[in-house]
């Protein structure tokens, strides 16, 4: 036991002496999450649009004002004719063009119907349909206001309640996901590099030849990073609550307990990677290059998993961040208890055990 403590002490000293790395490992993830919490959102607003107004009458002016003040649109330019529309789209940022025909208001009042042309840049299909939906509902509104007298008959009003996130902020959706991703990537990166480094420098042999059992060597390597990750987690949670205004509706104890499991899983994955790579360069390339995008895209918080082809859905099961994301949402934002997340916890634990076992097996041959 003494020897183990010795090992752990040495590991701690090594890690904490590298001030630059330490600062990066503790400070940066936190900065990132706050940044993303404020910046990321799926909502579509401030979309740049162009207007071609042949009518230039009350009708078109009023609608344009409504659009501009809705918060969804930014009127970038008013164009003179149709031909300029294509150029505007090509120039880059314009997402939609709206064209008001000649005598728009007259026709509307006298013929009781008028058309507005809407051209949307469907490069991003969702943005296009969302913007069109916004326009449709704003114009619908306007329609309703046109009637001089009584209310519109037979009105069905949807009452929309946004659960867990009444202000529709991006943070409640993204922070849990990004948190899962950042913690995963950092843990994997930290352990894999630190272990491979010892392999490269040749000091690993020294450790393995010592009377301490291999598993103890491994455990002692992971412990400083476990501590760092927990510090990261605590800072992230603190900032999420106080800077981003996220709630912690569930039990904090449960949150930490399960995060602990997740961190162990992540560290074990890093360990596994270190057993299959022989240089720091490949360890880094593997953890950053091959894990960043899959974790982002298959993690479940950016793209809905149900939309994916089945083989990819299966693949996403392998991404530990995906399960942790569900857990954080459930415990932190929905306030649910363990009974709702036991399955995910079990899966994470299973992964951790699997990674550890395989790593251990890869370690042993070196002694022979």
């Amino acid at each position: 036991m003494d020897r183990l403590l010795n090992f752990i002490k040495k590991e701690f000293l090594q890690v904490f002496r590298d001030r630059k790395s330490l600062l990066m490992l503790i400070g940066l993830p936190v900065v990132q999450i706050v940044l993303f919490g404020f910046a990321l959102t799926n909502e579509i607003k401030n979309a740049k649009i162009v207007v071609v107004d042949f009518a230039k009458d009350i009708g078109s002016q009023q609608i344009i004002t409504k659009l501009a003040s809705s918060g969804y649109f930014q009127i970038k330019k008013t164009l003179m004719n149709h031909d300029q529309i294509e150029a505007a789209f090509k120039e880059g940022n314009v997402k939609l063009a709206i064209v008001f025909p000649d005598h728009f208001y007259e026709e509307l009042l006298h013929l009781h119907s008028a058309r507005i042309e809407v051209l949307a840049d469907a490069s991003d299909p969702n943005t296009a349909t969302t913007l069109v939906n916004y326009i449709t509902s704003i114009i619908n509104d306007y329609d309703g206001q046109l009637l001089p007298s009584a209310d519109v008959p037979y009105q069905i009003t949807p009452e929309i309640r946004m659960l867990y996130n009444p202000d529709l902020k991006g943070a409640p959706n993204f922070v849990p996901g990004v948190m899962a991703m950042v913690l995963l990537l950092i843990c994997v990166m930290m352990t894999s590099i630190s272990i491979v480094r010892e392999k490269e420098l040749g000091t690993m042999e020294v450790l393995l030849v010592s009377p301490v059992r291999p598993i103890m060597v491994i455990v002692s390597k992971m412990i400083p990073y476990l501590v760092i990750s927990l510090v990261d987690l605590a800072s992230i949670l603190l900032l999420s609550v106080y800077a981003l205004g996220l709630p912690i509706r569930g039990s904090i104890v449960l949150l930490f307990a399960i995060s602990f499991v997740f961190i162990i899983t992540a560290l074990s994955l890093g360990l596994l990677i270190s057993t299959v790579t022989s240089s720091q360069e490949s360890a880094m390339t593997l953890s950053m290059l091959s894990m960043m995008l899959p974790t982002t895209i298959l993690g479940g918080y950016m793209f809905p998993i149900e939309n994916m082809p089945v083989p990819l859905q299966l693949l996403s099961n392998v991404v530990p961040a995906r399960w942790y994301y569900i857990i954080i949402k459930a415990v932190m934002l929905k306030g649910l208890g363990f009974s709702y997340i036991w399955k995910e916890t079990l899966i994470l634990s299973g992964m951790a055990i699997f990674f550890l076992v395989v790593s251990l097996r890869n370690f042993k041959p070196r002694l022979e």
């Binding site: 630059k20 790395s21 990066m24 490992l25 990132q32 940044l35 404020f38 910046a39 401030n46 789209f89 120039e91 509307l108 058309r115 507005i116 809407v118 051209l119 949307a120 840049d121 469907a122 490069s123 991003d124 299909p125 296009a128 349909t129 939906n133 449709t136 509902s137 209310d151 008959p153 037979y154 069905i156 949807p158 009452e159 309640r161 946004m162 529709l168 409640p172 959706n173 849990p176 950042v182 590099i193 022989s278 240089s279 720091q280 880094m284 390339t285 593997l286 950053m288 290059l289 982002t296 298959l298 950016m302 793209f303 809905p304 149900e306 939309n307 082809p309 949402k329 459930a330 929905k334």
Partner: protein, 373 residues
């Protein structure tokens, strides 16, 4: 100048001998490009609905049928208990609850207005947002249908109607791969190049061979250039392979000028590699270089406009993105591939990235000290 030739010879030789890393550099992006875009799909379908119908009238049934036949939604549950529906939301089995109040049909006919409750799981990202948007549209449609049935048809329709028929340009099939594949390719390229550039010089520092370089008369500009050029070539090769995959596997053929795309690529790599080299000059160990690179690359990944729109970000965040090189490339590649934008259209982007490249590389050269203080 001849010295540069020798440096390049050495760098290329070393690169070609690093089998393990080379393999990863080529295979990893290709595999990811093959697999990931199929998952990068924001399409609205399979939004899980829990319907709570307290009315069970012909109207409510009609409404439910209309919603379900739209193709966007899947019925997760149909019942009369809101709490039951809510448990489904807790378990992530339902995204939206639609609650139709008792007496819906009767009250609508009698008093002329009614409410429908939509409870949306607002932490489920795109599904919830888009789903509620579509539901809204369906409700409006349903409303108009009912209204035109109920109000006596008169020769003059008292209610003015503005019709908007949208035309969708540039992505005829409204599919996501066309939108995501180019962006993902750019992201993969950035990961590869950024990673390589930032750790290479540090590796020499760690091994000690950098001293041997510092003690020779090699000018530091040549040294840095000698590191830059091989990765620059590598980046172009990887990008080309990516374009090939995009064409063969996804059928994506750029609408615009390929040469223009490559011009931008060349300048972009210049900036990106400069950035990596700069990080290299500030780090003593590969671990430090990697941590620093990771920090920036994560920001590039999330704030590039690849997944979430930059326009929707708060203004200060949008300002930050002006300093993110990949933001420009994501925009440019989408512009050229999907809309056929021309040189004039991307002038600003080119300029920005060129400026970044010059600043970053100069800074890297300046920061690299052959003689330490």
């Amino acid at each position: 100048m001849r010295v540069l030739f020798y440096i390049l010879q050495k760098e290329f030789l070393q690169l070609s001998r690093n089998r393990a890393v080379l393999r990863m550099l080529f295979m990893s992006p290709v595999i990811q490009l093959l697999i990931l875009p199929m998952a990068a799909n924001y399409e609205v379908k399979n939004v899980n609905l829990a319907i709570v119908d307290h009315d069970r009238s012909s109207y409510s049934q009609r409404f439910v049928a209309k919603v379900l036949s739209s193709g966007y939604f899947k019925l997760a549950d149909f019942g009369s208990d809101y709490n039951q529906a809510f448990t489904l939301i807790e378990k992530d089995k339902a995204d939206i609850i639609v609650e139709i109040p008792a007496g819906f049909e009767r009250n609508l006919l009698r008093e002329g207005n009614q409410k429908l409750l939509l409870a949306v799981n607002a932490i489920n990202g795109v599904k919830a947002l888009m789903g509620s948007g579509y539901l809204n549209a369906i409700i409006v449609d349903f409303n108009n249908e009912l209204r035109s049935e109920l109000t006596a048809p008169q020769s003059l329709n008292p209610l003015p109607v503005i019709e908007t028929n949208p035309y969708y340009w540039y992505n005829p099939n409204m599919t996501y791969p066309w939108f995501m594949v180019p962006g993902i390719l750019v992201m993969l390229l950035t990961l590869v190049s950024g990673n390589m550039a930032s750790t290479n010089i540090v590796k020499e520092k760690e091994i000690g061979t950098i001293e041997q370089i510092n003690v020779t008369p090699i000018k530091k500009q040549y040294f840095i250039l000698g590191k830059l050029i091989p990765f620059w070539v590598l980046g172009i090769v990887i990008f080309s392979i990516g374009l090939l995959v995009a064409r063969v596997v996804y059928g994506i053929v750029p609408l615009g000028n390929l040469g223009l795309l490559y011009l931008f690529l060349a300048i972009y790599l210049f900036a990106l590699l400069g950035f990596g080299l700069l990080i290299s000059t500030y780090s003593e160990t590969q671990q430090q270089a990697h941590s620093l690179t990771f920090f920036f690359v994560m920001i590039f990944n999330m704030m590039s406009g690849l997944y979430t729109p930059i326009d929707s970000m708060p203004h200060w965040a949008q300002d930050i993105t002006y300093f993110i090189p990949i933001k420009y490339f994501v925009e440019v590649i989408r512009m050229i591939v999907l809309k056929g934008s021309t040189f004039h259209d991307i002038l600003f982007h080119l300029g920005a990235v060129l400026a970044m490249g010059i600043v970053l590389n100069t800074w890297a050269i300046f920061n690299y000290q052959k003689t330490s203080r």
